[in-house]
């Protein structure tokens, strides 16, 4: 960063870059209740312009409610939501944002290209609809009525509708739900390209790999509250002793001997059938202890890996491992 100092003359260009650019999204103290249920409970988040922010959380965590308040579909019960510096839901905001609602949306009888042309007509400088249709792999379904498109195709059309107007900020609510792996990969590439071109993307997901692969910042929410936030790296590697050694071997081995042989503070468990995990500070000595224990047991440790904990581990730790209704 260039430092301006009074004792040295500095030639200033005609473009002034504000040191504190306006956030793309700024939510503070957001509360939303549905009857007696509090869906969003004092949520704060800030998204910097041109970045990708993933709102990660289990089903019912309040992700969609939060996004729909930002998009202007719902009103907040308390708190403030500013999008691109404007009050959420203001008319002036809508041409500047792109929205992909959960589950898409289209006239039941409309064809993909007609739907995209209609949304393109609402924008001053739209992308070429024909090109976007091809990019999203909908070229083979241009004459299919919307209601006969597969869930993944409807999602892709909805994504096209969100991007067609060249927005500054895009909201994607579970963008890859119902998509096959190829389409998912395409969406990831698109989000990457948007980010490269300076478009801010706020997406919701309950897929850890998606958040890890795409996001500059991850906000983990649960029961309407932020439980953790930071970059994927910060969230997964914030403690040095928080590593894992994983290996596969015959199921049902007695791990008590291994426990005894390992240094203090390390924990061993059979996390899945035949899948063993050692957690703590993993050093070469630990690896050696594990392999010699396996040799004593007469088993071969397969797929032995040392890794920092994944976002999934962080997520499950914070939001609990039990399945909720």
């Amino acid at each position: 960063m260039t430092q301006l100092r009074a004792d040295r003359p500095v030639r200033l260009g005609c473009v002034l870059v504000s040191p504190n650019p306006q956030p793309a999204v700024e939510v503070s103290g957001l509360v939303k209740r549905y009857g007696s249920k509090t869906a969003v409970d004092g949520l704060d988040l800030v998204q910097q312009p041109g970045t990708v922010l993933a709102l990660l959380g289990p089903n019912g965590a309040g992700k969609t409610t939060t996004v729909e308040i930002c998009e202007g579909f719902r009103s907040a019960d308390a708190g403030s939501v500013r999008v691109l510096g404007l009050e959420a839901g203001s008319e002036a905001l809508r041409p500047r944002i792109g929205v992909m609602p959960q589950g898409g949306g289209g006239y039941p009888g409309i064809r993909a290209e007609e739907m995209l042309n209609l949304v393109a007509a609402c924008a001053a400088n739209p992308l070429d609809p024909k090109w976007l249709i091809e990019v999203l792999g909908l070229g083979g379904a241009v004459r299919t009525p919307y209601k006969r498109l597969s869930g993944g195709q409807q999602q892709r059309l909805s994504l096209a509708c969100a991007l067609i107007g060249r927005p500054e900020l895009v909201f994607l609510d579970e963008p890859t739900a119902g998509m096959d792996p190829q389409a998912r990969r395409l969406v990831w590439d698109l989000v990457g390209a948007l980010r490269e071109d300076g478009v801010a993307v706020l997406l919701t997901t309950h897929l850890m790999d998606e958040a890890e692969a795409l996001a500059d910042d991850v906000v983990i929410i649960d029961e309407g509250r932020v439980v953790a936030q930071g970059s994927p790296a910060e969230l997964t590697a914030n403690r040095a002793d928080d590593q894992q050694l994983r290996f596969r071997a015959r199921p049902g081995l007695d791990t008590s001997l291994l426990s005894a042989a390992l240094p203090e503070g390390l924990k061993v468990r059979e996390a899945t059938r035949g899948g063993y995990v050692v957690e703590g500070l993993i050093d070469p000595q630990v690896v050696s202890t594990v392999t010699s224990w396996c040799a004593q047991q007469g088993v071969l440790a397969e797929e032995l890996t040392v890794a920092k904990r994944s976002l999934e581990d962080v997520f499950l730790e914070l939001t609990g491992r039990e399945l909720r209704s």
């Binding site: 944002i97 609602p101 289209g106 409309i110 393109a120 919307y146 991007l163 060249r166 071109d197 300076g198």
Partner: protein, 252 residues
């Protein structure tokens, strides 16, 4: 991996021109209606068949010339079919498929979302009326041209009033319930609501269907201005339905 040239998605936001948005939205609405087989049956085939039947058969007592009176009543039916029943059903299913939410997330202003549907409905009604009028002329209808401005005004007023009633029904309930109710109400209005024949019961005159049929009959058959009563009834229904619909219509 799919790669995109740098700058492909460089932001260039902005709202499209209002006339173009209105044109494309109205055209889409009209096109989707005309493409829908069930809508064509309801809005074109049934009214045409009834026009022919009422004109050539004397099952229902009707003032002579039969074809003039039949034409006026079938104009009213066509408007009810399209603006009320057709609009309600389309809106019910459009909501189910999330299109209102999709469009209201675009730069399309809310008022234009309504205006586009109204214009689309007017286009469809205009096509229906032209088709029915040509058929009526072939059947021997003689239209007193002095009634033309009144007929045009009544068609627009009728479309707006029944359109508002259609939105009131289609915007609030589940799609299947809308489908059933919109068809039942259509049938009831046709039979006993003062459309197919004048029902000499006091309160029927207060129905928008009877008011529209009666007003159109005056202008289509006699070429004169409709009575104040039927027009007032139509306006009142339209205003009340429109005001209610703005409160009850849901996007999904």
């Amino acid at each position: 991996m799919t790669t995109f040239a740098p700058g492909t998605f460089k932001p260039a936001p902005g709202r499209g021109s209002l006339p173009r948005m209105l044109f494309v939205h109205a055209r889409t609405e009209a096109m989707l209606t005309l493409r829908n087989g069930e809508q064509i049956l309801l809005t074109v085939i049934i009214p045409l068949a009834l026009l022919v039947a009422l004109s050539v058969m004397s099952v229902i007592p009707m003032p002579e010339p039969r074809v003039g009176s039949a034409t006026a009543r079938i104009f009213a039916l066509a408007i009810i079919s399209s603006a009320f029943t057709g609009q309600a059903i389309a809106l019910g299913f459009d909501r189910r498929y999330g299109v209102l939410k999709r469009l209201s997330a675009s730069a399309l202003p809310r008022w234009l979302l309504v205006a586009g549907r109204v214009c689309g409905a007017l286009v469809v009604v205009a096509l229906q009326i032209v088709l029915l009028a040509v058929t009526a002329l072939i059947l021997g209808w003689r239209f007193p041209l002095s009634g033309l401005p009144w007929v045009v005004l009544l068609i627009i007023l009728g479309t707006l009033t029944f359109g508002a009633l259609g939105v009131l029904l289609g915007g609030a309930l589940r799609a299947e319930i809308v489908l059933a109710l919109a068809n039942i109400i259509w049938f009831v209005l046709l039979m006993v609501g003062g459309v197919a024949l004048s029902v000499p019961v006091g309160f029927v005159h207060l129905l928008p269907s009877a008011a529209l049929a009666q007003a159109l009959e005056t202008s289509v058959v006699h070429g004169t201005a409709p009575g104040v009563g039927p027009v007032a009834v139509l306006v009142a229904w339209g205003v009340v339905a429109g005001a209610l619909a703005t409160r009850t219509t849901r996007l999904t």
